[in-house]
């Protein structure tokens, strides 16, 4: 029975998608690109964590959050706070008027570390915070909204507003948060210099493996009864409710999961890119994250990864040459996807390529059997 459960979790096409992606991330890309480019790809992939969460909550469950930057930021800032404290030893900061606290605090005339920074001296606490904080935050938002039956567009707008408020708060409280510049000049993780090429290689692989792990978790959820319930809620919420389910709890749950995934992505962003700032958590980045999921196909967890890779790639190229065009290009892209390819890249794959792949696989299976 366990075997049959495992089978139902791993349809042939999903296994194939997973293997192809794993080979791409772990073998092909590292072979094809130098560390500078690979580090960029690693950065793009941190957004894939968010996009996968959006596939679960939005694609499956119909809960569109336009504020996933909030959770990306929670993970990112948690990691950044830990790294910043490690970088701010009394020796490193001897020239400050208060040595031993982060430089931006000193510039802002703070003379002691704020209480909420203290626990981030501990790496263990930081790791727990990266998982637990977004869950708590998502729970509070989710409970406040879904128990009051706020959904749809209203939910989207409110999450967006929260992302905006959080950004304003961070920018305003410069002394506590590093303000608009964010938390920069991060150096070592438990004494290990994360700025070197070898560290960047290792972090790329850690990130890729974490992403694959998140995909496995997402696949489990998708294929469980809970996954089918989410689809059912999207189709007919009342029917689910009057079939004896406390619908609000399911929404809260999947919103928490999406938040946790995003937070892991944020933490990996900080580690690979070396800073965290409000520019990654506000309205625009939050909407971008939705576009990654939409381009990949908001029903496909694998599509989400490709969506994040391709759109970010395009963004890098475009904004290098025409920075002012990017926002418009992205808006156009979103409209095009919604109108012309509502199932995104994954939809294109399913209609055009998958039948051929299926045929090939079937042929191969028959041959194997014949032999």
């Amino acid at each position: 029975m366990l075997q049959s459960k495992f089978k139902s979790l791993t349809p042939r096409n999903d296994v194939l998608s997973f293997v192809v992606l794993a080979v791409l991330l772990l073998v092909l890309l590292p072979l094809l690109f130098d560390i500078f480019r690979l580090n960029l790809i690693g950065k793009y992939l941190t957004f894939a964590f968010v996009a996968i969460g959006l596939v679960l909550s939005w694609g499956l469950g119909g809960i569109l959050s336009l504020g996933q930057g909030i959770f990306f930021g929670i993970g990112g800032y948690a990691m950044a706070m830990f790294l910043k404290l490690e970088a701010s030893t009394p020796e490193n900061t001897a020239i400050q008027s208060t040595p031993g606290i982060p430089d931006f605090m000193d510039w802002n005339q703070l003379t002691a570390l704020p209480w909420f920074w203290e626990p981030f001296h501990s790496f263990g606490f930081t790791l727990v915070a990266i998982i637990v904080l977004p869950a708590i935050f998502a729970y509070i938002i989710g409970a406040a909204m879904f128990k009051r039956r706020v959904g749809g567009v209203y939910f989207a707008i409110i999450t967006q507003a929260i992302a905006a408020i959080l950004t304003i708060l961070i920018i305003g409280q410069q002394g506590y948060t590093g303000g608009v510049n964010g938390i920069t000049d991060l150096r070592t993780l438990l004494g290990w210099d994360i700025r070197t090429d070898s560290a960047k290689y290792i972090l790329y692989f850690v990130n890729a493996i974490l992403l694959l792990a998140v995909l496995v978790a997402a696949q489990y959820i998708r294929k469980s009864k809970l996954g089918r319930l989410l689809v059912a809620m999207r189709d007919s919420e009342d029917r689910v409710r009057f079939s004896g389910y406390d619908v609000d709890n399911y929404k809260i749950f999947i919103f928490c999961i999406a938040g946790i995934f995003s937070s892991i992505g944020g933490a990996m962003f900080t580690l690979q890119v070396g800073f965290m700032s409000p520019s990654l958590i506000g309205i625009v980045p939050s909407i971008e994250m939705v576009i990654f999921a939409a381009v990949g196909g908001n029903l496909s967890i694998f599509g989400a990864v490709y969506g994040a890779l391709i759109v970010n790639w395009a963004k890098t190229i475009l904004s290098e040459s025409y920075p002012e065009v990017w926002l418009f290009a992205m808006g156009a892209l979103f409209i095009a996807v919604v109108l012309a390819f509502p199932k995104g890249l994954a939809g294109l794959y399913e209609t055009y390529l998958q039948p051929k792949v299926d045929k090939l696989l079937d042929k191969k299976l028959k041959k194997d059997k014949a032999e």
Binding site: S224, L226, D235, D238, R239, R241, S243, G244, Y245, D246
Partner: protein, 248 residues
């Protein structure tokens, strides 16, 4: 004597007002065990609203709804379901993107909490039950089809099946034969006769032939109030009912 019996459902003085408009106004009625009760009445009479009130979709302004002695007006929707009340909506509400099997499976009374749903396994008991119900609702051959491919009548059956698998003691059906062909209607009447053997049923219906075929008792509603109640013959000869139906 009639009052002495054990009622499955007692609705007393039920009122709901939407911004001053009383869609249901001081309605009382009682349903016995294994009774098939049909509510009829012109459009906008408040029939659907009564079901909404019983299943918790709408909160009442006044009055009480007792199900097996338990007050329902204070419970949340899923708690009312767990108490044993099942409800079919006026427009077939099914999960179009899931298969017929999955539609039925989601109503199976197991794994209703988040953790339970995450760890739910499709064991033999589930498969057997789904097959049994699918047979009853004439959808055995369609189990693996997407529900969106079903005809309108089949969707109605599927939703009835989703309720049956829940095994409620009180089954409420809002216009179950609306949009059905004559033969589908006959099948549905037979289905209802079969499934009502071990439960009470509250049906809203416009189709008088269908009502005559299935009803034990009929409640006629008009402008949010009960106009008449009794056997089909009784209400059909009630002058107040005749006036409402023929006077307009």
């Amino acid at each position: 004597m009639y009052q002495q019996k054990d009622f499955v459902l007692s609705v007393e003085g039920l009122t709901v007002s939407f911004d001053g408009f009383k869609a249901v106004n001081n309605v009382s009625f009682y349903i016995e065990e294994q009774e098939i009760r049909v509510i009829i009445g012109p459009n906008g009479a408040g029939k659907t609203t009564i079901l909404d009130l019983i299943c918790g979709k709408t909160k009442s302004t006044e009055g009480s709804i007792k199900f097996k002695g338990k007050e329902l007006t204070k419970l949340r929707e899923h708690e009312i379901v767990h108490a044993g009340v099942g409800r079919k909506f006026q427009n077939p509400s099914i999960y179009e993107d899931l298969t017929v099997f999955e539609n039925l499976e989601l109503s199976y009374p197991k794994g209703k909490k988040v953790w339970g749903a995450l760890t739910f396994t499709r064991d033999q008991a589930v498969i057997d039950k789904v097959n049994e119900i699918a047979e009853m609702i004439f959808l055995k051959e369609m189990l693996q089809s997407k529900a969106s491919l079903l005809s309108h009548g089949q969707k109605q059956w599927l939703e009835i099946g989703m309720l049956l698998i829940q095994d409620p003691e009180l089954l409420m059906l809002d216009e179950p034969v609306a949009g059905m062909s004559v033969s589908e209607r006959k099948q549905t009447a037979a289905l209802l006769q079969k499934i009502t053997q071990d439960r009470s049923v509250l049906v809203i219906e416009h189709d008088m032939h269908f009502v005559e075929e299935i009803a034990d008792r009929v409640t006629v509603m008009h402008q949010g109030q009960v106009l008449s109640e009794g056997s089909m013959d009784h209400v059909q000869s009630d002058p107040k009912v005749i006036e409402v139906y023929l006077g307009h």
